[in-house]
Symmetry: C2
Subunit: 250 residues, 2 copies
């Protein structure tokens, strides 16, 4: 079942990380990034000197309906301007810059961002141009480097993929979707119902001579009980199995 | 710093989840999926009746170098055949099917998959056709439903995005990248070095008459100590600050 994350589409007034695209090249990638953001409820897109100007006609179709993100995108002349209202800035890089900044994983960054937001502060994440990534000067504007732990032998994240992984991690920090939701909308069978099925089956097997020797009877019955108790049957499934047993013994 | 996940490019002999694309439509999406997989070290792609046949000339360019995944992709006639060697199968869906199967998050699924792999069993994940998703019959082949908790008001994950989120979650279950790596390849300054900077600065400030009243001197000195001790300076940064203080007092 899909549950809404805390941040919803259009909830741009809610404090959330600013996703700052620094000198993005293709409008199509800006559109895909908007879609990736909105999939996880993020709407604060900031563009620093997009190469092909703004608005860009290639962005809309690629956004696949995430138009609100593009409409609200703001343009800035410099990285410094784009993050002026933020208190914690991450720079995404794939290469080790050997810079005097700590490096964190998306999960760690997401926890830090949620902490900032709980203090009513705004975090931001810088993403570099598609081809070249952030410059050392861009990175120097950030507090912390954020690196997605990709396959060292094939690290080929595009802009929208990098954004979606970080948006996802941020979103699930605050998401209350249970990690496991049981099946059986009709309800799990209780043990009386399960025992009823076992008794029904064992009773019918008694008639057929399934339990050939008195020796093995106890073990065989225990095997059947283990089999059925551990199957995690729903009420409906118990009824289905009883119908099957009934049909087979007709 | 990028660290290799445990599964590396080309490590297809290592047990890892099979990514099963059921009736995928566009070759381009198959290529993008290969790229998404290899970004997180996954190479076991299985295709069930790809709409446009196989190989598909549109797949290669979209894979951006993840050719090994496409070359090793295997074709199957049915979902049942595709998962015949697997012991735990997840069906990815966005809609609530109201089916008698438990539903898990990507993180929970990833933990279950790692458990299976530690038992030398192979898990699999089913992904449906781009437009329509898995049918109820496809889902019936799975043990568990896997749902990415997207924004309920805008859930628009494409095939490669769904794959990359799950591949990422699987990969980081086993990834040993530290969540926080300190800055300062030259090493954090020890407290003697930091205290040396404080003494230098306070000494110079004494000369300038910065501490005007005896009353405030103690508080002012404490403020400076707090400021500098909590800045987390590296050895190099302590030297840089000492150079700055020296230059300002010339």
């Amino acid at each position: 079942m899909v549950r809404p994350p805390k941040s919803k589409a259009g909830a741009s007034n809610q404090l959330q990380p600013a996703m700052v695209l620094v000198r993005p090249q293709l409008g199509e990638n800006i559109g895909k990034t908007a879609r990736a953001m909105l999939n996880f409820g993020l709407t604060d897109m900031r563009l620093v000197v997009p190469r092909d100007g703004w608005p860009n006609p290639a962005a809309g179709p690629a956004a696949s309906g995430a138009d609100i993100v593009l409409q609200n995108a703001r343009i800035f002349d410099t990285v410094e301007d784009a993050v002026a209202d933020c208190t914690l800035v991450f720079a995404t890089t794939v290469r080790n810059r050997d810079m005097p900044k700590p490096t964190v994983t998306p999960r760690s960054a997401s926890m830090q961002m949620q902490q900032k937001i709980s203090l009513s502060e705004r975090p931001a994440i810088l993403f570099g141009p598609e081809r070249s990534g952030l410059t050392n000067d861009d990175v120097a504007c950030a507090d912390t480097v954020l690196t997605v732990p990709v396959n060292a032998a094939f690290g080929s994240l595009n802009l929208a993929q990098a954004v979606i992984l970080i948006a996802y991690e941020f979103s699930i920090q605050n998401d209350d979707t249970p990690s496991f939701q049981p099946a059986y909308p009709d309800g799990q069978a209780d043990k009386a119902q399960v025992q009823g099925l076992i008794n029904h089956l064992v009773g019918e097997l008694e008639q057929t001579g399934f339990f050939r020797s008195e020796d093995r009877r106890t073990n065989q019955k225990r095997s059947i009980a283990n089999l059925i108790h551990s199957a995690g049957l729903s009420q409906q499934e118990v009824q289905t199995w009883r119908g099957i047993v009934k049909a087979l013994t007709r």
